[in-house]
């Protein structure tokens, strides 16, 4: 199988109220190209699911959106990515506040080896978001509440975060991301290490978070993409094949490759 010559993304990759806009994005690891000419909007307050077989570039693309790829020496990004019309690859752009505005949740829960409280308070402290202990307490409580974890941990805020269950740890990481008041949350397979009940809680949470945040989620679970997202983007060998409303993608996809992937004809 090879990449498609002169491919145009099918469906509706653009949004009327974009939060993030990517235009003609290419990503190279050394001389190997991983992403080819991807143009996609992520609309304000939408959940967009990025799906595709392993190695299709969905995680690579996600990582471009808050410059996580900068941490890889040989990685080079071309094209334009704007957050609220501001070029995030501008040399003057400071990546630390950028990553606070565009937060990320990873596949494996990765709490700091600190207390639950300090896991949440860490970000607000270094970004100077709280001016007093009381304010910090408020941020910690609000973030844990938004992440649906408050009632479970409020009596043991000073116990280590690593002592929580996997699902709780992942919600702790989401709370940690929320604590710095981001605008966009990127999630890279946030439930793949969790059991079904913890997964259901995270999915429920994603739906609630959409009111205040814009969310892009990479997932290997097509059912999850169908449950949580409003639009679904299908990647294949580094190309963006199709973007359409989620219900359409899972009932009547436009492109034969999307159809073949979601019906389990390859993967």
């Amino acid at each position: 199988m090879s990449i498609i010559e002169n491919h145009q993304t099918h469906g509706a990759p653009f949004s009327d109220s974009p939060k993030l806009t990517a235009r003609n994005v290419g990503v190279y690891y050394g001389d190997k190209q991983a992403i080819f000419d991807v143009s996609l909007d992520i609309g304000a307050n939408e959940v967009i699911a990025l799906i595709g077989p392993s190695g299709c570039g969905k995680s690579t693309f996600l990582r471009c959106l808050n410059r996580m790829n900068d941490t890889i020496d040989i990685c080079r990004v071309t094209g334009d990515i704007e957050l609220d019309k501001e070029n995030i690859y501008d040399p003057k752009m400071d990546v630390v506040p950028l990553r606070a505005r565009v937060g990320m949740v990873f596949q494996k829960p990765n709490p700091f080896p600190k207390s639950i409280y300090d896991n949440i308070a860490y970000g607000p402290r270094i970004h100077g978001l709280a001016h007093s202990r009381v304010e910090l307490d408020e941020i910690v409580e609000k973030s844990l509440q938004r992440a649906g974890l408050w009632s479970e941990v409020k009596d043991r805020l000073h116990a280590p975060g690593t002592g929580l269950s996997g699902g709780q740890q992942q919600r702790l990481c989401i709370a940690r991301t929320i604590a710095v008041d981001p605008e966009v949350i990127l999630m890279d397979e946030p439930c793949s290490a969790l059991d079904p009940i913890a997964t259901a809680k995270i999915e429920e949470l994603i739906d609630e978070l959409r009111e205040n945040y814009t969310i892009a989620i990479v997932t290997h679970s097509m059912q999850q993409a169908a449950r949580v997202s409003q639009r679904t983007a299908y990647f294949h060998l580094g190309q963006l094949i199709e973007v359409n409303p989620t219900d359409q993608v899972f009932t009547t996809p436009e492109h034969a490759l999307t159809e073949a992937y979601i019906t389990g004809r390859f993967g």
Binding site: M1, T251, E259, T263, F266
Partner: protein
């Protein structure tokens, strides 16, 4: 593209989908014979054929339940998407229409027994024969279209349904004339009316099956659309 997209990674999934389609076709074949036999029974007055149709109705019902169960199993086990999902939904809907066609065939057979030893059983003979043959063709046309993913064939069945409806309306006028001319014929005419009505309903169910073919192939839901709308929707999806 050097890949075969006709097969799933899971061979069992392929086999399961193949099975519901084949079982539906088998049920369709039986139902088609039931209708053809029921029509033959009224036209010839052969009560043995009518008895046979009534006896086999149960078989049709059992098939509906069994196929619907298989569809449920696929939904639960495979969470099908896109064309696979449409196949399962379409099969599930088609077997319901087939079961209702089976009911109508059985109704025709029951009324046949009631009119068989009566002098005025020649009422509307021609209309029954013509409409009966049309709806049998509609059932096989709809099932063929399903098997071949043939949208044009499906649209043709919808067209035929319109003709059957017109035929039904004109037969109804004929019956009313009989009843007005000779009120003693009313009891008999009503029996004939039920039979014509059953045939007309079979046409509607065959049309529903064709609508599912269009859904299966193009993903467009054309239920409750007019013939013109269906023709337009089918044309834009080709």
């Amino acid at each position: 593209m050097d890949m075969n997209f006709n097969q799933h990674i899971s061979g069992q999934f392929n086999a399961d989908l193949e099975a519901i389609r084949n079982h539906m076709m088998g049920m369709g074949g039986l139902v088609e014979r039931q209708v053809a036999n029921a029509v033959e029974a009224i036209c010839s007055g052969d009560t043995r054929i009518a008895d046979d149709v009534i006896r086999r109705e149960d078989e049709v019902d059992q098939m509906e339940v069994a196929i619907d169960h298989e569809c449920t199993q696929i939904l639960v086990r495979r969470q099908p998407a896109a064309s696979d999902l449409r196949m399962v939904l379409a099969v599930s809907r088609v077997v319901r229409d087939l079961e209702r066609i089976g009911d109508e065939a059985s109704k025709i057979a029951i009324h046949t027994l009631e009119v068989s030893d009566n002098a005025s059983s020649h009422l509307c003979q021609q209309a029954m024969r013509y409409m009966g043959a049309e709806v049998v063709k509609m059932i096989s046309g709809a099932l063929d279209a399903f098997a071949r993913h043939d949208v044009d064939g499906a649209v043709e069945v919808v067209r035929t349904d319109k003709r059957v409806d017109q035929q039904y309306a004109s037969a109804l006028r004929e019956l009313i004339t009989y009843m007005m001319e000779d009120p003693r014929s009313i009891g008999q005419a009503i029996n004939i009316l039920w039979i014509l009505r059953a045939i007309e309903r079979i046409g509607d169910h065959a049309r529903n099956i064709s609508e599912q073919v269009i859904y299966l192939v193009s993903g467009t839901d054309v239920r409750h659309s007019s013939l013109t709308e269906i023709e337009e929707k089918a044309a834009t999806k080709e």
